[in-house]
Amino acid sequence: MTFRHVRSLAAFGAVLAAGVAATSQASAKDLTLCWAAWDPANALVELSKDFEAKSGVKMKFEFVPWPNFADRMLNELNSGGKLCDLMIGDSQWIGGAAENGQYVKLNDFFDKEGIKMDDFIPATVVGYAEWPKNSPNYWALPAFGDVVGWSYRKDWFARPELQAEFKQKYGRDLAVPKTFAELKDIAEFFQKREIDGKTVYGAAIYTERGSEGITMGVMDVLYSYGFQYENPDKPYELDGYVNSAKAVQGLEFYKQLYDCCTPPGHSDAYMSEDIDAYKSGQVALHMNFAFTWPGINADANVGGDKSGYFPNPAGPDGKAFAQLGGQGISVVSASEKKDDALAYIKWFAQPEIQQKWWQMGGYSALRKVVEDPGFATSQPYAQTFLDSMAIVKDFWAEPSYASLLQAAQKRFHDYVVAGQGSAQDALDGLAKDWTQVFDDEGKY
């Protein structure tokens, strides 16, 4: 090797070393937060500028569209990837992430920083932070409260000619439904009706097959009809609860609603398809998570006074429940920047930041924010959000939640959309599938 070779090699080494040093210096000053790609994530980007200014840490974001969110992020967690320092993961992931050591346990951090879970809406603490459920073991800070509810065309409901026709047909006012049976009447009333020269339809509901859509929709009705996940006195005993007569009745209702009152081709619809159907003026009723409401309220076509909001109506026994959505924010165990990540959570938990979060379109789960006397009237949908959060139930959050969810997706879609078998067959099959999953998990 000549001197010239040695010299050029040394120069290359120096450049490489400088590059590595620069990279490591840069990475020490940044933090990556992973979440779904949706409106609240954009609001969080804006909100986080305050953290950047105060801490000097540059925030980077990895947002994945909802249909691929679970696949992408669970791959990341399972492979021990270091992409995400902070994860705003789905509530159902908490069991697996806790048991497999993918999230950092936050109890000591909360104690040290004086962050109290009593300060947050109880349902969000149970749903987003605790594993095992109802035990003081915290793996996340409630970050974004969300729940399934309904928006409706208030302007259509207010039309005198429609009011009169509805009253004549159903013997009551065209108003926000108190029961699911009333909701179906309204949806049927609007189905294929001509309004302003355009054919409109009854309701946009969840029917998506690929990820979790139809399950999130069906469960709203099932809960209110009396479905239970398991024997309350004997965990994991499913037969007779999952497939109870009331649950069967609820599933039959959801299929009837799908058959009678959805727009044509509404066979694979989740959050974005439903919001599109509503914003384009196709439907009178719109099932969706509360995160869509700020966007509806601001929409030029259906926003402002044209839309109203209501929580899930009651089932036949007068009980109403709603499917919990939303997420908690966790520190990823594989992260090499845990201290900065914890500093972000400390900053995010502050009441003034939570207040700002709500103002920017994020649903704060902090009680100080939502119990503020001015909260309920601060937005047209704020009271509905509070009412809905008071009646939430959540899907399984077991480590095996993915298998449980996929079984539900298949059984519900096979029956509701494909029309195969009966509701009883679907729920019997689901009870069998879930029992098998828990059997594999050694729960019996």
Binding site: A70, S79, R209, D268, A402, K410, V417, A418
Partner: protein
């Protein structure tokens, strides 16, 4: 005189390079060049295959790094082969495979036969016809979902226009009886040009002299078609069927984009089902066994087919 390719390569090799490798035999030099490829092949192909086979006999779940991995023998294989739902996905795959092959061969060969005739604008038409296969399956799936949209879709509008039916009265991807055909139509639209190109290569490889001889013997066009064209194009056609068959057996992207496997599980092909087991339910051991079964099936069928293809070629 240079006899072998090695000699010719040695002759062509610059002196400086030859000097650098002095002391190495031709065989060693050959190994030196081939080794990186072999290592790469072993690392990305053979090792994962062996690892998959190993995992298929366990209860391993990739999302449970702390759980004990147990050897379960043939349990995964038995439960897959006795699972009614998996046989339904096999049926869905067979329906998709058979109909796409039949349609693509018929239409592809017909198009090739027409394109092979000399006419004005021949090249332009060839380019237009092959455009669909140049698109990404994700893009194709996405825009066909719009074409199939009952309210605004052009496909529904066209059907409505031709039959008088209300376009919004049927949903190609939401109806149990139509969805399996919806995916067949899109795959046929996209991949018929591929079959056409292979058939065209076959048609153009037939020497004109054979047809001229047949003309001299006063053979009719019909007889020329069945006794010259078809037998000589058949190996090409069979090759196209082999390629499309293997591709469609593992079809994933297009169908996921179009129907997501629905409605219900009507269009859930084996590859979609396998992906759900492996990366949604995270049943890694089970999914490995499933993958091995599919691999053996494709490999076995392809081997039988290739033997048949060779026999046809030898005739």
């Amino acid at each position: 005189m240079l006899h072998s390719p090695v000699d010719r390569v040695a002759e062509a090799t610059p002196h400086a390079m030859a000097k650098r490798f002095r002391g190495l035999s031709d065989r060693s030099l050959a190994w030196l060049f081939v080794t990186p490829s072999i290592v790469l092949l072993l690392a990305v192909n053979i090792f994962p295959l062996i690892w998959t086979i190993r995992l298929s006999f366990t209860n391993f779940r990739v999302n449970r790094p702390n759980a004990e991995v147990a050897f379960v023998g043939l349990k995964n294989y038995v439960s897959i082969l006795s699972d009614k739902d998996i046989w339904l996905t096999m049926q869905a795959t067979a329906h998709f495979l058979i109909w796409t092959l039949v349609l693509q061969v018929l239409i592809g060969f017909s198009l090739a036969y027409l394109i092979n005739k000399k006419f004005r604008g021949n090249d332009l038409w060839t380019t237009i016809i092959v455009l669909p296969m140049m698109l990404s399956p994700a893009v194709v799936g996405n825009f066909w979902t719009f074409l199939y949209q009952p309210q605004i879709g052009l496909f529904n509008y066209a059907v409505g226009f031709l039959t008088g039916a209300d376009p919004s009265s049927f949903s190609m991807i939401g109806d149990v009886s139509l969805a399996p055909w919806a995916i067949v139509i899109v795959d046929t639209w996209m991949w018929t040009p591929f079959v056409m190109l292979i058939c065209l290569a076959g048609l153009r490889s037939i020497p004109d002299s054979i047809y001229e001889a047949a003309e001299c013997d006063r053979a009719s066009k019909w007889r020329q078609f069945w006794t010259i064209t078809i037998p000589l194009v058949l190996p090409f056609l069979m090759l196209a069927v082999l390629f499309r068959g293997i591709e469609n057996f593992k079809m994933f992207d297009l169908v996921v984009q179009l129907t997501g496997g629905g409605p219900g599980s009507i269009t859930e092909l084996t590859s979609i089902n396998l992906k759900r087991e492996a990366f949604e339910k995270w049943r890694t051991g089970y999914a490995s066994a499933y993958a091995v079964i599919l691999f053996v099936t494709v490999f076995g069928l392809a081997s039988i087919y290739v033997k048949a293809l060779n026999k046809v070629k030898q005739r």
